[in-house]
Symmetry: C2
Subunit: 248 residues, 2 copies
Amino acid sequence: MEHAPWSKNGHPVAAYWNMGCPNANAAFAELIRVSRRDMRARCVMQLASERARHVFLPFAGWLVAAKVDPDGARQIVDFVLPGDVFDPATASTAIAAVDVAAVDNVQLAMIPRKAWHGYLETHHAAWALSVRQTAAGYGRMAERMLRLGKSSAETRIAYAICELCLRADPFGLVADRAFHLPLTQQVLGEYVGLSSVHVNRTIRAMARAGVLDYHGQLEVIIHDLAALAAMAQIDPAELRAAIIPSPG
Amino acid sequence: MEHAPWSKNGHPVAAYWNMGCPNANAAFAELIRVSRRDMRARCVMQLASERARHVFLPFAGWLVAAKVDPDGARQIVDFVLPGDVFDPATASTAIAAVDVAAVDNVQLAMIPRKAWHGYLETHHAAWALSVRQTAAGYGRMAERMLRLGKSSAETRIAYAICELCLRADPFGLVADRAFHLPLTQQVLGEYVGLSSVHVNRTIRAMARAGVLDYHGQLEVIIHDLAALAAMAQIDPAELRAAIIPSPG
DNA sequence: CGGCAGTTTGATGCCCGTCAATAGTGGTGG
DNA sequence: CCACCACTATTGACGGGCATCAAACTGCCG
């Protein structure tokens, strides 16, 4: 089988996005092909409160949706992972709600919003995908707000690790498996609302307690999944159902 | 003009939701008429992680979307106000991400999700409304997460007041106008992630500083809008564009 | 080797949660 | 009308968790 120009390592885009309709898939592949880009780590692709021009579909590497407050502190609102579809638009749909930037080196499609919405209107089958993606994003934010509001640093970090391992790895959240999260402790802190110093203390304590191991820029191995889930106040299977868009 | 059975005080539902298409409006009015309900304050209509059966459209009174953590503390994820359309579904679309409950006495339509999605498929014009509502909800949650993560109690509360006054009052965020927010300080605390005691201290300090007045269950009058906006770290016009669904 | 970005650890202080007690406020029944 | 109750608001005292400042330590790359 020949590799399409928008495939990577023999891993075609179709493995991430499937509309369940040949016509829709073909038109989608063409959209992707035309708007394919490469971005280096830290590259900013969209600024909040500027005109929202694109919908973002990464297929290698992570993006962040973030906001910066007047003091310069950054709060990460959500990560955008390969297979996601992210539209940064707000209520007045021309304006972006958040900054969008690359976490590490990223390969993605930046589809102009007009073209994307035209595609959705033409290809009814793609609506289901869009709706699932939106619902998954909402579920993630609801879970995360619960922890941002009232939980301890330990709960927030345990939850973030569970969420990101679930999303990053098709095998799900299992023990004794290495997960790679392309994050510094600083970035993880911006996600969970903690200083990088306190992220370090907390994750270090978890490692000393034997719950997990990590090294470098967050190569994580979970040893005691039950303990981690308890800290995060989740049930792995239930969380998966709530935040991972179902392929169906 | 005769009042339709689903109108209230001569204030027809059409003032809240307009699909911009007579057919779609007529079918919508019928949906509303059939699924109209009254609910008393504190009544719970949906539990998180149970099957999501309805889409909620209040036209008098407020709803909350909330989650309860294992210790019994409640985090309010969003308020649902008259004119909103709220679908509590998650990524596996049959399950609800959040509890839905009435804040005060509420008149609303609870449309079965199947009927609602059938309606959206039949009446293309209504998609735009649905998309705007979703985008507005996303914008609100992004703004709120920014404050939940890193901001002081003063900023969180000032922001919550700005957001809710904007959403609750068609005249927008203006000085020396009385806004009624049907919330106790306890509930406001569950929204911004603070204890009711600290909500009291903070809002009291704001009143003493002459920024606003309030009494009873949050009848608020803003005296110094500029100071309040500075505390909330917002620009009123910009915030409005980000979180209020545009009528167009 | 030096430089830089990230990690690790210690010391200090403040914001906000918790506990506790008092004072309103509205609703209900006598 | 008043007594009584539940609920909410208000204020004080105290303690802990996390931010902040600062200083080594690590690993990586040129």
